[in-house]
């Protein structure tokens, strides 16, 4: 079952007077349970693609179907709902709220989902435990290492039980040891059935995924590493 299908997705950015096409006719299908990495050099359009998949941005043209639903013309608030319930985000620079402790950071998406406080805390604590941070619940982000912060971010992404985990350069700001810890967690999550879409410019990290796509100048190519076929050949 396809979790998401991108068909002929294009994205233009206005740069000065001319429009620059950053994504060119992207076609991509992600099946439930897949663990996909998208690799590409800096400026190739990875984040732009991720933003569209993450419902943070809308494509200039093309269709995007998520969980069987065409996302065209949805309101900002409807998109916020989809992000809240269907998607989990992990960013390169963690994006934890600096004044909140780990537990409150993790519980935040549940607040927006309208989950009562007691249940929020229980589920957040559980999520932190699953990334091995049960003894860091009351720590503030600046009292934790980068690797720990990213694990908090993963707990936050997973706490709402999303259909798809999106990670934009999740190890980009980490040392290799912390990076591989994160990759271990991703591996385990995928083994438990989580669908993961990860972006990276690091070939070593991309190898952790089951399937690798390459993006170059806004065009998506099937990777030469492991994995199966794509809709597109270059």
């Amino acid at each position: 079952m396809a979790i998401l299908t991108l068909t002929d997705i294009c994205k233009d950015y206005q740069q000065g007077k001319e429009a620059v096409r950053v994504l060119k006719n992207i076609n991509l299908t992600v099946e439930k349970g897949e663990y996909i990495a998208i690799m590409g050099p800096s400026g190739s359009g990875k984040t732009t693609l991720m933003n569209i998949i993450g419902c943070l941005d809308v494509p200039t043209s093309g269709t995007y179907v998520l969980d069987g639903k065409d996302l065209k013309d949805l309101s900002d608030d409807a998109l916020a709902d989809i992000r809240n319930t269907h998607l989990g985000f992990v960013f390169q620079s963690f994006h934890l709220l600096p004044k909140m402790n780990a537990l409150d950071n993790v519980a935040l998406p549940l607040l927006y989902a309208g989950v009562p406080q007691k249940e929020r805390r229980e589920r957040a604590a559980e999520a932190l435990k699953s990334v091995g941070l049960e003894d860091r619940m009351t720590h503030l982000p600046n009292q934790m290492s980068g690797g720990q912060c990213q694990r908090v971010a993963i707990a936050r992404a997973m706490v709402g039980k999303p259909d798809l985990l999106l990670a934009d350069e999740p190890t980009g700001a980490l040392d290799s040891k912390s990076g591989s810890q994160i990759m271990e967690i991703f591996r385990r999550l995928n083994d438990e059935g989580m669908t993961i879409l990860m972006i990276t410019h690091d070939a070593g990290i991309a190898e952790c995924a089951d399937k690798v796509y390459k993006i170059l100048d806004g065009e998506l190519h099937t990777g030469d590493g492991k994995g199966g076929s794509t809709d597109e050949e270059a």
Binding site: D77, A80, R83, T85, F89, H95, L97, L108, L111, Y112
Partner: protein, 418 residues
């Protein structure tokens, strides 16, 4: 909402200095308004208390000619005005809230009154048996008028304490004799306002009495009055009512009744009866003090406006600073309304806090002014509530633009900034 308020306090606390500076405009504005309102209120209450009195609710209803009090010192008996009858007195007594009615004749400028070689130029009254109790006068020494005095039309007078000073040079006047219009009268007693009404001013005359600008007054029984003055003078009326608030309406009703009954052709006469309404006079005085203070309030409002703009400015800065926070919240599912509310709450809490601090400083300032300049102050709870609500409103109004900006922030732009 509770979470928003907690967040707001957190935000304000983490930028203490900035928050205080931002609130300053609101604090100053609210403090100024509270101070001004408290002084207005205090002054008004003092005016009211002085002019109307706290307990002695007397309205004087006097004969007027073309809108001016008719004083027989220089005038003859007015044409077409009847003497007040017992029938009319009873009607006056049956007006709502009226407790007691007194009829009296008077001269504002007594002439031909001497004690030895001193001449008296105070006021002269011919009073009925109710007069002293209506106005709250007590006999300080000697005696009051007796039934026999009235029935025998005896030539006896009472004097007030000012007359004791001006006419008798401070000597005890009891049993002394004075010459009035060529006749000899015996002073039987001295009267003064009774203690419970002592600082109370019930009429302009009393006001002058208290201000010690008057030479005082001499009273004789109204039955004796024609001996020195004239028969059939139309009387003035003093009515005592049961509450301060009833003074205006009871006074008007009495004046209308007297005009109707005593003036032969009320529609075409230049005479009518008017109540000397102290409440109305007090209100006029109050209006005067209010209008000057309204201008001050306008000036204070400008401070509030400037304060509001300051709040808007700081909130805009705060939104910019917290772009990453807002972006992240939106990315993980916060809707526009939630972000909007968060920032509106923060600015409203900020200005409300400023308002509360302003109210407290205003009260302190008012007390200081009161004790330093002997201006009475009265802190009114409604003013405090309005001030705080108003400052909250300022926060909501001036926080609207920054909050909308925050709510409409594009999460991608926000997350891009690292």
């Amino acid at each position: 909402m509770r979470e928003n308020i907690a967040l707001a306090f957190q935000g304000i606390w983490s930028h203490k200095m900035r928050s205080v500076l931002t609130m300053l405009g609101i604090i100053i504005g609210i403090a100024a308004i509270i101070t001004i309102v408290s002084t207005i209120q205090g002054t008004n209450e003092q005016i009211k208390e002085n002019l109307i009195g706290a307990g002695n609710n007397v309205v004087t209803v006097q004969l007027n000619q073309n809108g001016y009090t008719y004083d027989m010192s220089w005038n003859s008996i007015p044409d077409g005005v009847r003497v007040v009858t017992d029938q009319t007195r009873q009607e006056l007594e049956s007006i709502d809230h009226v407790e007691k009615v007194s009829l009296y004749t008077s001269r504002n400028y007594a002439q031909q009154v001497f004690y030895k070689n001193t001449s008296f130029n105070g006021e002269m009254y011919g009073v009925d048996e109710n007069y002293l109790s209506v106005y709250g006068y007590q006999v300080k020494s000697g005696r009051g008028f007796t039934k026999a005095d009235y029935e025998g039309c005896r030539k006896v007078v009472l004097v007030d304490t000012n007359a004791v000073t001006s006419l008798f040079g401070g000597e005890d006047p009891v049993d002394k004799t004075v010459e009035i219009q060529g006749d000899v009268y015996t002073v039987v007693g001295v009267v003064a306002l009774s203690e419970e009404f002592a600082p109370t001013i019930t009429s302009m005359r009393d006001y002058q009495l208290y201000a010690d600008t008057s030479s005082g007054a001499i009273y004789m029984p109204d039955t004796t009055w024609p001996t020195g003055y004239r028969f059939d003078e139309p009387q003035n009326v003093a009515i005592k009512v049961d509450s301060t608030d009833a003074m205006t309406t009871a006074g008007k009703a009495a004046a209308d009744l007297l005009t109707e009954n005593q003036i032969v052709d009320p529609d075409n006469s230049e005479f009518d009866y008017r109540s000397q309404d102290m409440l109305e006079q007090a209100q006029q005085l109050q209006k005067m003090s209010e209008s000057t203070n309204t201008q001050l309030i306008w000036i204070a409002s400008i401070s509030l406006l400037v304060g509001g703009i300051g709040v808007m400015n700081i909130m805009l800065v705060s939104v910019t600073e917290r772009t990453a926070e807002i972006g992240l919240k939106k990315a993980i599912g916060a809707k526009k309304k939630r972000i909007l509310l968060q920032f509106l709450t923060e600015s409203a809490v900020l200005t409300s806090l400023g308002g509360i601090i302003g109210v407290v400083s205003g009260i302190i300032l008012a007390q200081l002014i009161s004790s330093m300049m002997q201006i009475p102050v009265s802190i009114s709870p409604p003013a405090i509530v309005i001030a705080v609500v108003f400052s909250t409103l300022i926060g909501v109004i001036f926080g609207m633009l920054p909050a909308i900006q925050a709510a409409n922030l594009n999460p991608i732009e926000a997350l891009r900034r690292d």
